[in-house]
């Protein structure tokens, strides 16, 4: 089963990060077409017709998101969410590092479509090299007239400002991102109002993921209807999947949605398990969604099929656990992440992640107590759906399913006082 490369079409072209090479491969033709031959409304219509859904994790239809902007003459902003921080997800990073002009073209085209003169790319704090790459690419685009006061002679001004965050997962949540972008502490905002009506500096704002905005380029190039033919009716187009964990060929893969199964992705494209190992579970959508066990590996990779299987497509971060991976240690590792990244604004996430971490630590260390598994499950109940933002739900996604699917493995840690897989007891 081959990949279907739209976003990754040129990803392996040497020097594609330089504008000359990018142009030689058809780069900026989409922006040219949009600003010179199309009205902004026409661009929006194409995106609507493409059925593109947000690639950051929530899967909200992009065209509809754009249509929520009030037509009241206020300044509008486009913000690109490049705070890719979810463990197991590294797709945006590859676009930024290897094919930065694709993102710039996507941002500029989208900014034109929604009527924003100023666009911001909010980069994860750790993407310091990515920042430099994008900085150079933006300068190149300015020089060639793709950005600036008069884009390609159209009379339209489009500028992109880069902003490097301070290294917080929570800033991937769009309102926390906006707070951070405004120079404040990156805590999520109370909604409503939603960014579409009161976003950056209180102005109407669209926040889209790197992959989403990059996808606008092939969509305008091929036409929304054509793009919509890819994938399924509700899950149109292609999606990037990042496969990590114990597989032979981890990496990013671009797949047509709904045409490839999880098994095909992990076993064929990513090379399958390491020698002598067996895969016991896969987290298919980043570190915050329920695990799938081998009986579900034939699930097709699209929003609906994964939901039917009890999990989510999420960000497309596929994390593979094999029979040598301790589920307790894995879930503890993830809990350590969420505990560290919780902003602390709301009680259940702030206190719950710390407590869950403490319980998992002792189970993993072989000093778990009877009743700890019930406690873990119950604490998950007290977090799920009750936090201020989705981070709380994200924190317990894997743990909750782990407790159900691998109950015996957790219990064995408590009963035996050590890891049944032979891990060294701390």
């Amino acid at each position: 089963m081959p990949e279907t490369r739209l976003l990754f079409k040129n990803i392996d072209v040497p020097g594609i990060d330089r504008i000359d090479v990018y142009e030689q491969h058809g780069g900026y033709q989409t922006l040219r077409k949009a600003v010179l031959d199309m009205t902004p409304e026409a661009v929006v219509s194409e995106v609507m017709a493409s059925n593109l859904r947000g690639r950051g994790g929530a899967g909200f239809p992009t065209g509809r998101k754009w249509s929520f902007l009030p037509k009241d003459g206020r300044t509008r902003y486009l913000v690109c969410n490049a705070d890719e921080s979810e463990p197991g997800t590294c797709k945006d990073q590859e676009i930024i590092y290897k094919d930065p002009h694709l993102l710039i073209e996507g941002v500029a085209t989208s900014a034109y479509a929604i009527g924003a003169e100023d666009a911001y790319i909010y980069l994860r704090g750790e993407f310091k090299v990515g920042y430099q790459i994008l900085e150079r690419a933006i300068a190149e685009a300015h020089e060639k007239g793709y950005l600036g006061d008069n884009v390609l002679g159209s009379g339209r001004r489009i500028d992109i400002t880069l902003y490097l965050g301070a290294g917080a997962y929570i800033c991937g949540e769009e309102t926390a991102l906006l707070e951070s972008l405004e120079g404040k502490r990156g805590n999520p905002r109370l909604k409503p109002p939603f960014p579409a009506t009161a976003g950056l500096y209180g102005m109407p704002t669209v926040v889209n993921n790197v992959e989403t905005l990059s996808a606008v380029v092939p969509i305008i190039a091929m036409g929304g209807a054509e793009y919509a033919k890819l994938g399924t009716e509700k899950s149109a187009g292609t999606k990037l999947f990042s496969v990590s964990g114990t597989v032979r060929r981890p990496g990013n893969f671009e797949l047509e949605l709904g045409k490839v199964t999880l098994r095909e992705l992990v076993f064929d494209l990513a090379g399958g398990p390491l020698e002598g190992r067996e895969i016991k579970g896969i987290i298919p959508g980043g570190s915050s969604v329920p695990i799938l066990t081998p009986d579900k590996f034939d699930t097709l990779l699209d929003y609906e099929a994964l939901q039917a299987a009890g999990t989510m497509l999420g960000s497309g971060g596929v994390i593979v656990l094999d029979d040598r991976s301790c589920v307790v240690k894995s879930t503890l590792r993830l809990m350590e992440f969420y505990r560290h990244e919780s902003c602390g604004k709301c009680t259940p996430c702030r206190e719950g992640t710390v407590w869950l971490g403490q319980v998992l630590e002792r189970i993993e260390s072989g000093v778990g107590r009877p009743g700890d598994l019930d406690l873990l499950a119950d604490l998950c109940v007290n977090i799920e759906g009750r936090t201020f933002c989705p981070l709380g739900d994200a924190a317990i996604g894997v743990l909750k399913s782990g407790l159900q699917l691998y109950h015996d493995e957790y219990q064995a840690h408590i009963d035996q006082g050590c890891c049944p897989l032979g891990e060294v007891v701390r």
Binding site: R185, L190, S342, K345, T347, P348, V354, V359, N382, G385
Partner: protein, 728 residues
Amino acid sequence: MITLTIDGREAQVPPGTLILDAAKQVGIEIPIFCYHPRMDPAAACRMCLVRVEKMPKLQPACATPVSEGMVVSTDTDEVQTAHAGVLEFLLANHPLDCPICDKGGECDLQNNSIRYGPQATRFADPKRHLDKARPLGPIVELDQERCIQCTRCVRFMDEVAGDPVLTIHDRGGHAVIDTAEGRTFDSVFSGNTIEICPVGALTSRPFRFKARPWDLDEVDSVCPHCPVGCNIRLSVRHGEVKRILSRDNEEIDWGWLCDRGRFGYGFLSHGTRLEQPMLRKEGRLVPVSWDEAIAVLKERMQGGKSGALGGGRHSLEAAYLLRRFVQDAGIKNVDHRVLPLYTAIAPGPVGRIDDVNDADLVISLDAELLEEAPVLALRLRQFERKRGLRIVSVSPREGLLDMPHQEAQTPDIAATLRAIAQGEGDLGQAFLSAQKVLFIWNGQSESVFSALDAAVKARSGETATLVVGSLANSFGAQAAGLLPQDGGLDARGMLEAAAAGQFDTLLVFGHDILSEFPDAELAAQAIEKVPFLAVAGTVPSETTERADLVLPVAAWAESDGHFVNMEGRAQRYYAGSDRGVNVVDDWELMARLLGIEADYDRILAEVQAALAPLFGKERRQGAQAPTGGYRPAEGAAIAAASIYYKGVTPDPFLNSLIPGARVAVAADVAAQAGVAEGEEVEVGGYRAELHEDPGLPPGAVLVRAGQDGANRALGRAAAVRALAGRSE
């Protein structure tokens, strides 16, 4: 109106009402921590989660507005589990040092736990250990372990006080409240954060570990420190005021207090009160009986060469009886206007604090609200923030208002005001077309009074004026008639007469003339020359030391009475704390002078009958021009108010907050004098640090009340001489 159902009860509320408030209206309490009715919802603590039909998740009642046909449940198993779950999380790392916690007994965490909490905790791990006593500033100490991260304090400083000095450091389980880098918590509103803290995390230096809340008697009172008249509660234990809390009055204070009001009680019991009537005999003050003291004073206070000064610091009842007494005794020399900053009531309609709510334009005439009427500033800021209320400061000085506003700097306030009243410029147009204009004036000059009078008359819409900068009962003293009668002398006139040896008896009521009267030299001469000086007050001062008769009266917290605030609103306060056995109520002193029975109820009834408008609901009418009192000489230093000052309420704790003696000068004066920033100078015998203030007009010297002797620096000659001397 929107109709919704909460736990089967139908509620009808206006659109935009929050579920929390709708529930309250039908008698259903939803527990909260982070929500505060005077601030924007944060929805952070998750204590108020409720089930709303058709919504996928539980919703925070504090942040969810009602909608038509909404069905809300607050007591299902699911909601109860959520409540218990949040409490279990909050208690997990809470130190549970309730036995020694200031908040014990009135703590939201305790109260919500007993009603909504889990029966037992399942948390059996080491608790988080953080700083137990972190000083945030001169007043507030933080126990980071007790903190539940509701961020009420942070949001108060940001949203209400407009000074975001508090912030959250670090994140997640490590998140702690602290001051912003490089800042200390020195806001004059800092104490409010202690009161709104739902747990015992924020505590005050003066009250920390002093008493258990359930041992305290709460007594309704009114703040004695400025004319805003914030409503307060005295927390009393064994006859001593242990702390002061707010008593939310929608029309006045919204439950906020400034730190002077909240912590200005230490002087009540710090052991240096006037305790005993004293009469000077053979050059020494000796204790005498009240009968003797009263007899001597009655004999002395007679005719044209006697006079009474003061009244703005004490009860309306006392002011009224003093007026009756001087009338009976045929004394025409009466004046309550002793300080530079309170010489007038407004021309025309007197403003009300809640005029701010619907005013279109607020024009501040030389008022410095943070120093003169701090809690009024909070309301202005709130409406500026919520609906962009236009606020303009007309003054020779810049930077008087600590909130977003427009500066209209002018050397001549009256001239600028006249121009505005004639519709000149954008401001003049706004002034004439506004539905409602509120003036806030420091009440200082006759020329401004007449310009203001003309301005009020130039408008067809509603216009009102609040006069700030006076004392807690200045309005009452004025209304009671403590003003020169039939050509009698005003305050300055009396002092001049006394200094000229033409006066027999001066009764000073509630003032330390020597350190407070703006013309310090005149006050000193008058007091030296006057044959008989009687001083009635609460604490010893330079003036009482020189008195011939000292009359100790009760402080407000020890007495019943009324203060009349800047709106002309008489507000009752009740006796809470104990007084010395030989100390009498201020009105009792006056009753005894008059020779009537000191029966409070009968006196009050008489005052209410005589001064009925002060007790009514109608807007007061003003029109008392600022004659008399202090008349600054041409080129004299500007007398500025200070929230913290040494004076007749010498609180040892508050005194520690008074900045050092300071004199501010305009840039050109600093350059001329050749004095370095921060250098000590002597101005009229007052040694102070000199600072350049870019907001001052050319040539100006400003002396801020605060340290004793500041009034000595006000005279023009002294100020200029001192500075010139340095440059020679």
